[in-house]
């Protein structure tokens, strides 16, 4: 066996170790993005989550003006951090629609009483069906839907104060 070939296992080991160290140092991105951006919103009809608050259907989201659809839940901790920012967007004239994922009316009512209610309508997505239909993988997540009912932008995770400008820009572009 030639001398060079004798070191082949060692070289392989070094390559393997380098690969392992590289992956440990820079873990793969675990964020799952929706492939529905640019596509038409799937048709859905959700029942109302709260009495006195309108229900939400896909038809409400193709009414001429861009809207922000926010997936949230009373059991979701980052949603509490997001609430004041949504309130801020509402004050700037953004139409925000809520989809409460796997939630109960009394819990949602308590959540909104504590953190404020920025929503025009709230649909109840008890089996995450609309969430899956939109390619969303958790709460909170927000989608910009243009006036024709096309999904224009997906925001994964809580909308932070620094993201307000981005959301406003996306809504403007969807106009």
């Amino acid at each position: 066996m030639s001398r060079a070939l004798r070191f082949a296992p060692l070289v392989l080991l070094v390559i393997l170790l380098a690969g392992l160290i590289w992956r440990l140092a820079t873990p793969t991105d675990t964020v799952v993005t929706s492939k529905m951006e640019g596509k038409r919103l799937p048709a859905f009809v959700l029942p109302a989550m709260l009495p006195g608050k309108p229900a939400l259907s896909s038809q409400d989201l193709a009414a001429g003006q861009p809207r922000l659809v926010n997936f949230f839940a009373s059991w979701c901790v980052p949603c509490i951090a997001e609430a004041p920012v949504l309130q801020q967007l509402k004050q700037r004239g953004v139409a925000i629609e809520g989809i409460a994922v796997r939630d109960r009316p009394e819990d949602v009512a308590a959540f909104l009483a504590r953190n404020g209610d920025p929503y025009q309508r709230i649909g109840s997505d008890a089996q995450s069906r609309v969430q899956i239909a939109l390619g969303s993988s958790g709460v909170p997540e927000s989608f910009v839907i243009d006036g024709r009912g096309v999904i224009r932008y997906q925001h994964i995770g809580a909308i932070k104060p620094a993201d307000v400008a981005l959301i406003m820009r996306q809504l403007e572009q969807a106009r």
């Binding site: 839940a73 059991w75 109960r104 819990d107 069906r129 969430q131 899956i132 390619g135 993988s137």
Partner: protein, 136 residues
């Protein structure tokens, strides 16, 4: 003192991924009455990746969302949908990432070629060894 400190620290613990208070969806943990349909659903669920516990299939995961996806798969199979159509519907939403079954995409070519490359390498090594041992 130390015990008290640990006890107090326990109150600080917050669940990172909170789960909802709702019970699991209808078909999340229940088998379809038709064994053939249930077998189809099981085979598909074992090949769909959970969005929450990303190393697991939805058949293995305890996450709420995985339960809702099992519900979706069983519901559609019961309604007569083909497993390939359900897989396609999910891939359309989440990309080929959601399916564990390797595809014919260029990114997967090394995976298909690896067994043949290893076979060739093995045959070459074996040939060398036999040649070295053989008396001249």
């Amino acid at each position: 003192m130390r015990r008290l400190a640990i006890l107090l620290l326990l109150f600080l613990a917050q669940p990172l991924l909170a789960d909802s208070n709702l019970p699991p969806a209808d078909w999340a943990n229940r088998q379809l009455p038709d064994p053939a349909q249930e077998a189809q659903a099981q085979a598909l669920m074992a090949e769909i990746r959970c969005l929450v516990c990303q190393g697991q299939s939805i058949a293995d995961s305890d996450a709420d969302l995985a339960g809702d996806m099992r519900d979706l798969v069983r519901r559609r199979i019961a309604a007569g949908d083909k497993p390939a159509a359900i897989r396609g519907w999910l891939v359309q939403r989440y990309g080929s990432w959601i399916s564990y079954r390797p595809t014919a995409e260029p990114a997967a070519w090394p995976l298909w070629l690896a067994p043949f490359a290893l076979l060739v390498a093995g045959a070459w090594l074996l040939r060398r060894r036999i040649r070295l041992r053989a008396p001249r």
